[in-house]
């Protein structure tokens, strides 16, 4: 199935929404508006011609302070139709909030917690948004491009 078909299915189900294909991505990718990510995910999950029943990966990505954006990237896979799809959402660094898709796929629970842990992107309506890999009182978000290594953790000097 081509990307155009997926786009037309989505537009048929959701009305006029902004979906921009990304040509530099493998598998095929769509750039989705932040406000529509949950409805797009619900549609691709439940539509009988797509049925993306597996969320493989949720990736956070920091484009750096110059570009001033961050991204959340979803890799979906449809087991019955053997389809791949990548969804990208670009967020401004001033407003790092996005709807959680944990209500669609349970996988998203931990994967989104990891993105929150590493980038500080807030997932609204997430069932349990806590840090997952870093200690609960760790300061800062380690995978941001402008992250500074801390000198002390609980008054213990960190030596590199």
């Amino acid at each position: 199935m081509t990307l155009d078909t997926i786009v037309s299915i989505l537009k048929g189900a959701l009305g006029e929404i902004t979906l921009q294909p990304d040509t530099h991505a493998t598998p095929q990718a769509l750039i989705v508006d932040r406000a529509q990510i949950l409805s797009v995910c619900k549609t691709v999950h439940q539509h009988p011609e797509l049925y993306f029943d597996m969320l493989s990966c949720v990736t956070g990505l920091d484009n750096g302070p110059q570009t001033n954006t961050m991204e959340v990237i979803y890799n979906l896979y449809s087991i019955p139709y053997n389809l791949h799809l990548m969804l990208k959402v670009v967020l401004p660094r001033e407003q790092l909030e996005i709807d959680s898709v944990a209500s669609v796929w349970r996988t998203a629970d931990w994967l989104e917690r990891e993105v929150f842990d590493m980038y500080g992107i807030h997932f609204t309506n997430h069932p349990d948004l806590r840090r997952i890999l870093m200690p609960a009182d760790w300061e800062g978000y380690p995978l941001r491009k402008d992250y500074q290594n801390p000198q002390y953790y609980r008054d213990i000097k960190i030596e590199y």
Binding site: A25, A29, N75, R106, T107, I132, L133, D137
Partner: protein, 406 residues
């Protein structure tokens, strides 16, 4: 002690700064209690900590706490050229390093566009060592699982047999566990002379041992009683929770990326994909998951035999074969986003790359680890079980904390 050597200044507030538990004692009912399992408990397979809410012996809720083995793989990967990331990839799932390397090297080769030029001999060697490593990994899974629930003997048997595999791989690569053998575009070195014969001897040696393992563990009445109908994972929940590998196949879906994606030379090889059939209890219970792993040992042996036939037949060693011939001098993929996935013993290992085309280092290298996702289903399937069964469920998921925490 001089003041400069003091590492830790005690302050009252430090104790309350972090919130290590999710469950709070003041919210409990009078018959409930919180029990902390791990991170040092031997049956939690490494540094996994579980916060368990108990009502008597019944588990009400499980909250896994991970991150004790976090080694900043993704941060390191953003600062290293592609070929230097391979040793870090080894350390993800450190009992199946060859499979990790295979997935990673394949991804970078596809980004560079050289994936279809890799010589067949290189691909067969990769599959051969990866399947040997898969057997070693499943040995650990089955052996430690037996030990979790009280069977001590099979653990020693599988560790003895695993040692043969590790010696073979050490002979090929120079290292016992962390190989750095599969390189982007080729291999570190060709197989040593005589490897194929020794490998055939190993296959002949191991076949009766697998039968012994089946008799002493999988068909054992005590083992069946402890694992059948325990931790049943229904298929719809398994797919929705993103579970892959033997855990998903144990729930009855014939889904193996070696077949689905058909990467490397797997389409040319004959092997079956075992799935859980509910022989001892319900489909998707702990026994089914272990049984799938056990049957995969036989399938891996079949693949190894076919690879050996190819490596001594059509693609036999020759003087002018150079496994490093295609290894690029400079690894600089053009600007793109790329997601690659492959089947490692625990499930789907995925890498997401973003490259900008101007640097030898990736802008982002995200690892989608299967143990991490498989572990996230644990709270769902361990509601209302006995605490002894909780240990059986953890073992049947087969997590490697090195891959969970990365």
């Amino acid at each position: 002690m001089t003041p400069t050597t003091v590492q830790y200044k005690y302050k009252e507030g430090n104790l309350s700064r972090s919130v290590p538990n999710k469950l709070r004692p003041e919210n409990l009912r009078s018959e409930e209690m919180i029990v902390n399992l791990g991170p040092q408990h031997p049956s939690t397979h490494g540094v996994l900590r579980l916060e368990v809410l108990l009502d008597g012996e019944i588990v009400q809720e499980v909250v896994p706490h991970i991150g004790y083995l976090h080694r900043c793989f993704e941060k390191h990967a953003e600062n290293l050229p592609f070929n230097q990331i391979i040793p870090f990839v080894d350390r993800l799932d450190y009992v199946a390093s060859m499979n990790n390397e295979h997935a990673y090297a394949m991804g970078v080769e596809r980004m560079l566009g050289i994936a279809d030029q890799i010589p067949k001999r290189v691909e067969y060697i990769r599959v051969l060592v990866a399947e040997l490593n898969r057997i070693a990994s499943h040995f650990i899974a089955i052996g430690t699982y037996g030990m979790d629930i009280g069977a001590f003997t099979p653990f020693f048997w599988v560790m003895r047999d695993r040692e043969h595999i590790l010696r073979l791989l050490e002979w090929a690569s120079g290292a016992r566990l962390l190989y750095n053998y599969i390189w982007i575009g080729g291999l570190f070195y060709d197989l040593p002379v005589g490897f194929e014969d020794r490998c055939r001897e190993f296959v002949q040696y191991i076949k009766p041992k697998l039968q012994e393992l089946d008799n002493v563990l999988l068909q054992n009445k005590i083992f069946v009683d402890r694992t059948a109908n325990v931790g049943v994972l229904p298929l719809d929940l398994a797919i929705n929770a993103g579970v892959t590998g033997p855990v998903l196949r144990g729930s009855g879906l014939r889904y193996d990326l070696r077949r689905v994606d058909g990467y490397s030379v797997y389409p040319e090889l004959e092997f079956d994909i075992p799935v859980g059939e509910g022989k001892m209890g319900k489909v998707g219970d702990c026994w089914d998951r272990t049984s799938v792993r056990y049957q995969e040992l036989h399938e891996s042996l079949r693949i190894i035999e076919q690879c050996l036939a190819q490596l001594t037949g059509d693609h036999k060693r020759s003087r002018d074969f150079d496994p490093q011939a295609l290894v690029p001098k400079k690894i600089r993929p053009k600007a793109q986003d790329f997601y690659v996935r492959a089947e490692i013993p625990k499930g789907e290992l995925g890498f997401f790359f973003r490259t900008d085309g101007r640097n030898d280092v990736p802008v982002r290298c995200k690892c989608r680890s299967c143990s991490f996702v498989n572990l996230s289903v644990l709270p769902e399937i361990s509601k209302g079980v006995l605490i002894a069964d909780l240990i059986a469920i953890i073992g049947s998921i087969d997590v490697v904390m090195g891959e969970v925490d990365r």
